[in-house]
């Protein structure tokens, strides 16, 4: 980084698209603005008030101009809309092979958790050339996770999981900023994202950890006594969770709900909001009982329970591939 950059580092797959759109807009709007200034100053000088020019001439520009500058700008503006939306879709469409990371925002720090169990504060290690999907929520107020070098940003909300993603294209260290004002140390809620070569990243992952996120979640599943009702067989008082992730579940209301991150979240914090068909509203409310960190661990575990008969053992299931249906609101399908 030099001392006086006029352009941020271009370090993700979407960054060149955003920059191209930005520079295209600079070119179009710059040209139009320049044209307007030149015309204004040309008129202001050429038709400046002089003794022989006390009275304006009655001649008007042709009236057809009016339609010209209604129609042409409208077409240009709509073109800008389409281009902007096109890039926006690319920013929001999470690739199916994305590596999963969980983030929690709190006054005033960022906490990242990896499926393998590593936890970091105000820093995030990711491999280069691999899409990374961040599932995130806030513990208190609204924050916003911004990676300027990746040109992506998303508000982090206290009431639901949201997902963003990026694929870094250059190794190095880049800024993480909180972009939504969140109180006293808002400007201190910053960090560094470290983009590493895949081999180096593997070595970093092999470093100390308390077991995978899913295995930590399995322990919590027992600690909160979830397993007394949510059993592997249909005999439990609660619905079977195994292998449900990404599937559709019928509700007592007759509607269907996709068994995704936010449904799991809501069903833990406020279980009576959506009752699965065939079950009673017996589960206690966990709102205020489970921290965001524990929620992420539980989520990670619930997602990883394989369907009965599947070969994998839950706790060691790799988190590499998330089904496309995991996208929370805000992502295209």
């Amino acid at each position: 980084m030099n001392d006086f950059p006029l352009f941020p580092e271009q370090a993700s797959t979407v960054a060149p698209l955003v920059d191209a759109l930005y520079l295209g807009l600079v070119a179009i709007t710059g040209a139009v603005s320049l044209l307007i200034w030149i015309v204004i100053f040309y008129f202001a000088i050429k038709y400046r008030r002089r003794p022989d020019n006390e009275l304006a001439q009655e001649q008007e520009p042709p009236a057809a101009l009016e339609m010209t500058w209604i129609v042409i700008p409208t077409i240009v503006f709509l073109f800008i809309f389409v281009a902007g939306a096109w890039v926006f879709f690319r920013i929001n469409r999470v690739p199916s092979n994305a590596l999963e990371v969980y983030a929690t925002g709190r006054q005033w720090m960022w906490k990242f958790q990896h499926p393998t169990g590593q936890r970091e504060i105000n820093s995030l290690h990711v491999p280069v050339g691999r899409p990374v999907k961040i599932t995130m929520a806030s513990e208190d107020v609204i924050h916003s996770l911004w990676f300027p070098s990746f040109r992506v940003k998303m508000d982090v909300l206290p009431n639901r999981f949201r997902t963003m993603w990026f694929e870094a294209t250059k190794t190095g260290s880049y800024h993480i900023f909180c972009a939504e004002y969140c109180g006293t140390k808002h400007s201190g809620m910053i960090g560094t994202v470290v983009v590493m070569e895949p081999t180096e990243y593997q070595r970093w992952l092999a470093g100390g950890s308390e077991g995978s996120l899913a295995s930590q979640g399995e322990k919590l599943f027992a600690k909160y006594a979830c397993n007394t009702c949510h059993m592997d067989t249909a005999s439990g008082r609660g619905p079977v969770l195994a292998g449900m992730y990404g599937k559709t579940r019928p509700l007592v209301s007759g509607q269907n709900v996709v068994f995704d991150d936010n449904y799991i979240r809501e069903s833990i914090l406020n279980p009576t909001a959506k009752i699965a068909a065939g079950f009673q509203p017996l589960m206690p409310v966990f709102q205020g009982q489970v921290s965001e960190d524990d929620l992420i661990r539980l989520l990670s575990y619930v997602k990883s329970i394989p369907a009965p008969g599947a070969a994998q053992t839950p706790a060691s299931a790799p988190q590499a591939s998330a089904p496309q249906a995991t996208n929370t609101q805000g992502n295209p399908q």
């Binding site: 807009l25 206290p158 009431n159 800024h175 109180g183």
Partner: protein
């Protein structure tokens, strides 16, 4: 065609000593504080909004000083957060929203309509008192410790986490809103009911059209702000869950409600600016505004479309991508009527008689800066770019180009243009031009670097920042210093002119419009005889021809 049927002869008191006008009609403090004269109420507003402009400006300057260095070394974080919050609240609620409608609208609208006063003079005075009550609450907040939520009061920070004076501040904003509503109501009724004989809708000055559009927006949007702030106070004080998820509320709902008012509020701030610019362009080019009807209807189009774009403040806040696309699309459409105005003002200058007097310099500045502010709005409306620049200094630069480069430039143009009418004195032209130049240079140096530093990645509302952003921030602070001088100069020479300024005649600019057909300053009842309007707005050829004939004969 006759140009004027108004008795233009100077009104001489029977004694022949002094000309009676609204300023010397009555004396004493109570004659001001209990006045129902729209012109005197406008003067009350000039003093009040100028005071708040100075307060908000001091906050801004202190912020710029802090941002000279990357470290937060001048103020604590809490103090800095209060500075930008109070800067925003004071400038928006107590300066930008009331400034042009309450000063020039109050003073000029009835005169432009050929009326003796607004439809409800007592309500007009009431609106000033309400404004002052809200403003006093704002001052109490400042003195007793401030508020740190940002002017947007986002939940759940404002309802559960901030331990500053949120309740008093929102109460102040709530109360001040009613002042706007009453002013808007007054303008709407006056425009409908009190036009002079012959003054048809399409003979109205464009100032009146834009004020009319502004009044509609004020009447429809401000109550929503009132509702939103009440809900916020209810949650904060009574703990009723509306926006706070811990209480079962939805924080994004607050943003929808807030921006449903606050985006139209942007047009409450800029439409009056456009109103002033239309008047000045006509007066200082001596031409009828090109495409009068397009400019008039574009104000109404802005008023209408302005209600449909609020969620473009929320593209990354948690709305679905499909609603983001709809709001992006509508935001592109609202740019069209603004573009129409810019092109029409420019075309008006074609084969005109362009004066380089101070108001016109501000007009030229306005068109240039508003254009930049407008086109950078397209960047923010384009979804792919907005994700990156949202909540960065790019946004700060963008809205300052609209609010300062647009509205305040227009306010400065207006105060110089109408100063002779309001006070009966001319301001010193040389100083006026110098201040216009300083404001233009200082403004660009302050805010253009913020576009760049925003795209590089500096978030807004940051007390301390990464060292690579420093050069651009130093430029910005240097610009703010020049800008401050540019704003201080008029405050000094305008006061000076009250005593020492050259006496202005009835019509120092050779401008058409009913306000230039009555004496300067106008008599209490505005016109000695009710004017009968037989001419189109800005009918310069006929007007000047007639003026020339009367001079020759």
């Amino acid at each position: 065609m006759t140009t004027t049927t108004v008795d233009d002869a100077p009104f001489i008191e029977p004694s022949g000593t002094a000309r009676r006008n609204y300023l010397n009609d009555e004396y004493g403090v109570l004659s001001w504080l209990l006045t129902r004269d729209h012109k005197r109420i406008a003067i009350l507003y000039i003093f009040s909004v100028t005071l708040f402009f100075i307060v908000g400006g001091v906050f801004a300057f202190l912020m710029r000083l802090e941002l000279l260095t990357p470290e937060g070394d001048m103020f604590t974080s809490d103090t800095y957060n209060k500075l930008f919050t109070l800067h925003g609240i004071v400038m928006i609620f107590f300066f930008l929203i009331p400034a042009i409608p309450a000063v020039f609208g109050n003073f000029m609208l009835p005169i432009m309509l050929g009326a003796k006063d607004l439809a409800f003079p007592r309500i007009n005075l009431l609106s000033w008192y309400i404004y002052m009550i809200g403003g006093t609450l704002g001052v109490i907040v400042i003195i007793t410790g401030g508020v740190d939520t940002g002017w947007t009061f986002y939940t759940p920070f404002s309802t559960q986490y901030s331990n500053t004076k949120v309740f008093l501040t929102t109460l102040g904003a709530f109360i001040t809103g009613f002042s706007s509503i009453l002013t808007g109501l007054n303008f709407l009724v006056t425009t409908h009911r009190m036009r002079a004989p012959g003054l048809t809708w399409f003979r109205l000055p464009l100032f009146v059209w834009a004020m009319y559009a502004t009044s509609i927006v004020i009447m429809l949007a401000t109550p929503v702000l009132a509702i939103t702030l009440v809900l916020l106070m209810v949650e904060r004080v009574l703990g009723v869950g509306i926006f706070d998820p811990a209480l079962g509320g939805d924080p994004v709902l607050y943003q929808h409600m807030f921006w449903f008012y606050s985006h139209p509020a942007v047009y409450i701030m800029i439409l009056p600016g456009m109103a002033v610019i239309s008047e000045c362009v006509a007066a200082f080019t001596r031409k009828k505004i090109f495409g009068y009807k397009f400019v008039a209807f574009s104000s109404l189009a802005i008023a209408f479309l302005g209600f449909l774009v609020w969620a473009h403040h929320m593209f990354v806040a948690g709305i679905s991508i499909y609603s983001a696309m709809i709001f992006s699309f509508l935001s592109m459409l609202v740019a069209v009527p603004s573009a129409i105005k810019v092109f029409n003002w420019t075309a008006t200058m074609y084969k005109a008689s362009v004066s380089w007097q101070t108001p016109m310099l501000y007009v030229l500045g306005f068109i240039g800066l508003f254009t930049i502010g407008g086109v950078t709005g397209l960047f923010l409306g384009a979804l792919g770019v907005d994700v990156h620049v949202h909540d960065s200094y790019f946004v700060v630069a963008h809205f300052h180009y609209i609010m300062v480069g647009g509205t305040i430039m227009a306010y400065m143009a207006g105060i110089h243009y109408w100063w002779p009418k309001i006070t009966g004195r001319m301001y010193p032209e040389w100083w006026g031009r110098l201040s216009a130049l300083l404001v233009f240079v200082g403004f660009n140096l302050t805010f253009f670097p913020q576009f760049l530093v925003g795209y590089v990645g500096m978030p807004r509302r940051y007390h301390a920042y990464a060292p690579e952003f420093q050069v651009l921030n130093v430029l910005s602070t240097a610009g703010a210093t020049i800008l401050a001088v540019g704003y201080l100069l008029p405050m000094i020479y305008l006061f000076w002119s009250l005593k020492f300024g050259r006496k202005a005649g009835t019509n120092p600019w050779g401008a058409v419009g009913l306000e230039w057909a009555t004496t300067s300053p106008p008599p209490k009842e505005n016109f000695h005889e009710t004017p009968v309007v037989t001419w189109e707005a800005y009918d310069y050829p006929a007007f000047l021809k007639a003026m020339r004939e009367t001079q020759h004969v």
